[in-house]
Amino acid sequence: MANPRIAVFARLANGNVAPVRVIEGGRTRLSRTSHAIAFDEKRDEIAVPNPFAEAVLFFRGAASGDEAPVRTIQGPRTLLEDNDELALDSVHGEVIVPTRQALLVFSTQANGDVAPLRIIAGPKTMIERARGIAVDPVNNIIAVGNRDPQGILIFNRTDEGDVAPKAIISGPKTGIYTTKGFTINPERKELIATVEARAVQVTRNLDESFVGIWNITDNGDVAPKAIIKGRDTLLIAPRGAALDLRHQEIFVIDKVQNSFFAYSWEKIMEGLRR
């Protein structure tokens, strides 16, 4: 049920279970269309976009019920538009928000009508309707899914202005029709992207979409080094992905299944191709 809310589940939740808590209600300022979420481990906060109000909302990590955000980035100077995704860098205290053709970087402490700290935009960037974003604060990269060229653009974390990506993962070997969710394992220097197969939201076929794992140094027409793909995975239209490094698990949410899955990272790595 798409009531505007953030549902919070126990790590070991399985089956048809209710969330342990829910952030919802008029004070939350959530809309029904927040396609991304990030947790700031350092500040114990949750960041979520509200594209219909061109805002980024920050909540306490333990927020529950009809609780107002602790901060909101919103206003003319923010340049926010169509901002339904974001990535958060807790090490450097920055939140990166893709719009249709730009990456806007704000301080996570920003509040109200504030200008971005940096903007990555312009023809050299090749950014065209970013779909999915992740930041690696250790290896200093930003990975963005892109519509055209179809694939993944990789920028230096501190890039600014009209700069070319340092790498582009794109081409038939990548298997990418469209990407949606990203996460990065800085220790292993791996980029994890959910890849939606063509028309799978209409056909609802299993065994077509996948989660791909690339090295963050990959460039060009490179196949993923490992994948989560196949009928047993139950994936149809994977969207966001998140890592639990302590327990070596990856969580993937699926739009068509209206559900999320937990997979063993160790099991995935058994299929390592390179």
Binding site: V8, N16, V202, F210
Partner: protein, 416 residues
């Protein structure tokens, strides 16, 4: 033995750097090794899977003469009909279930019934953001009688005006109302639209056409961004990707246009227009303000017999009732609310004046509850229509996009 040899051949021809130990294991352990191989290539069984296997009722409509009740289910992507007078606390047996890839039923939200032509109109909110039309007796994985492409994304509410033979929808993403001929289909253009800065539309959901008094009502949420009159979905390409029709290079690159953001939060409101309003129309009346108690208003319904406006007020677990002519910061004249009512984040709503009843859906309870039309306070439902056994939990996940992990609490965060 032949099977094992075949496995060895397959293994030796794989592109991957297949560890020799697995080949040896395969020969030695036979079927057990087959299990191991099934996990290679990424076909990994999930450790855990959080999923609600039951229908979640979103919107509701009733045809009292035909004794038909229709609900949309945005969890399993189905459109269901039941007997209106079904009285059982068990899981209800549907008359019909329309679901499957041929149906065009996807993330389905609004529903309306055409009692004259015995047809169901339902609006998809995502992927195929179309209005699909089925006959009352449609069943299974069958194509709609017709479908109408109302928007590239974000259609939510649907309302029929059988007096003027029109159908109206709201489009969330671009703050828009579109009015079509009732029989419009495919890429037919709307007869008129309401859209623009003066309209007061903000993240619109429920819609109702009051043909008797020549007015059109819209329920608006609190998230506003500026959309100009006639502006189409800026992210229409996202819909082409969802449908699989996107081709790189086929569409011109959008020009970079970083402009001052105009997004803001506004109070939720019911905006009321002349029925034939169009363009950047100023509402005749606006119900808005703290006395109204409006919070995430979803479906709305005007009872033209008793001159009352009903609102499924999701944010306060209530049904609010206003005078049909209410304006400004007007308090509800009554409300149904309280733990005994069974109302929980109501979304769908329908007033059945023939049987003097009001229905609401409670997605998080997998139920629809019905009350006397004049009920107020902590009123118990007259009947409850259940899509799952009483007390069944609901994950509440709908059309999800993001997920995050909180390592401090070992919890998983999922926004809708």
């Amino acid at each position: 033995m032949t099977v094992l040899l075949l496995f060895v051949v397959i293994a030796s021809t794989m592109r991957t750097r297949f560890p020799k130990i697995f080949t040896a294991l395969l020969i030695l352990s036979g079927p057990a090794a087959l299990l191991v191989f099934s996990q290679l290539g990424g076909n990994v069984v999930p450790l855990r899977h959080v999923h609600d296997p039951y229908p979640v009722f979103t919107d509701i409509a009733v045809d009292p003469d035909a004794n038909v009740l229709a609900v949309t289910d945005e969890n399993l992507f189905s459109l269901r009909t039941y007997d209106r007078d079904l009285s059982s606390n068990l899981v209800a047996d549907p008359r019909t279930v329309v679901t499957g890839t041929k149906t065009g039923v996807d993330f389905i939200c609004g529903v309306a019934l055409d009692s004259l032509n015995r047809q169901i109109f339902a609006a998809n909110n995502d992927t195929d953001s179309d209005v699909v039309v089925f006959n009352y007796d449609a069943q299974g994985n069958v194509p709609p009688v017709r479908s109408l492409r109302t928007a590239s994304a974000g259609t939510w509410g649907v309302a029929l005006d059988l007096t003027n033979n029109e159908v109206a929808v709201t489009v969330q993403h671009i703050n828009k109302v579109e009015v079509y001929r009732r029989e419009a289909k495919d890429d037919d253009k709307p007869l008129r639209i309401i859209q623009g800065q003066e309209t007061g539309l903000s993240d619109p959901h429920g819609i109702f056409v009051d043909a008797r008094n020549n007015e059109l009502f819209v329920a608006n949420h609190d998230s506003y961004h500026e959309v100009l009159t006639g502006e189409s979905e800026r992210n229409a390409d996202a819909a082409t990707i969802a449908r699989g029709t996107f081709e790189p290079g086929a569409q011109p690159r959008a020009t970079l246009n970083l402009r001052p953001s105009k997004g803001k939060f506004v109070d939720p409101a019911i905006t009321i227009y002349a029925r034939n309003a169009q363009g950047n129309a100023i509402p005749r009346r606006v119900i808005r303000g703290p006395k109204t108690e409006l919070s995430l208003p979803m479906k709305i319904f005007v009872d033209t017999v008793h001159n009352e406006l009903f609102v499924a007020n999701s944010g306060t677990n209530s049904i609010l009732v206003f005078s049909r002519t209410a304006n400004g910061d007007a308090a509800p004249i009554r409300k149904i609310q309280g733990p005994g009512s069974g109302l929980r984040k109501p979304v769908g709503l329908f007033v059945d004046t023939k049987n003097d009843e009001v229905w609401a859906t409670n997605p998080e309870e997998h139920s629809a509850t019905v009350y006397r039309r004049t009920a107020q306070g902590n009123a118990a439902p007259l009947r409850t229509l259940r899509g799952a056994p009483q007390g069944t939990p609901a994950t509440g996940i709908g059309n999800p996009g993001g997920i995050a992990y909180d390592p401090l609490r070992e919890q998983i965060l999922v926004p809708n």
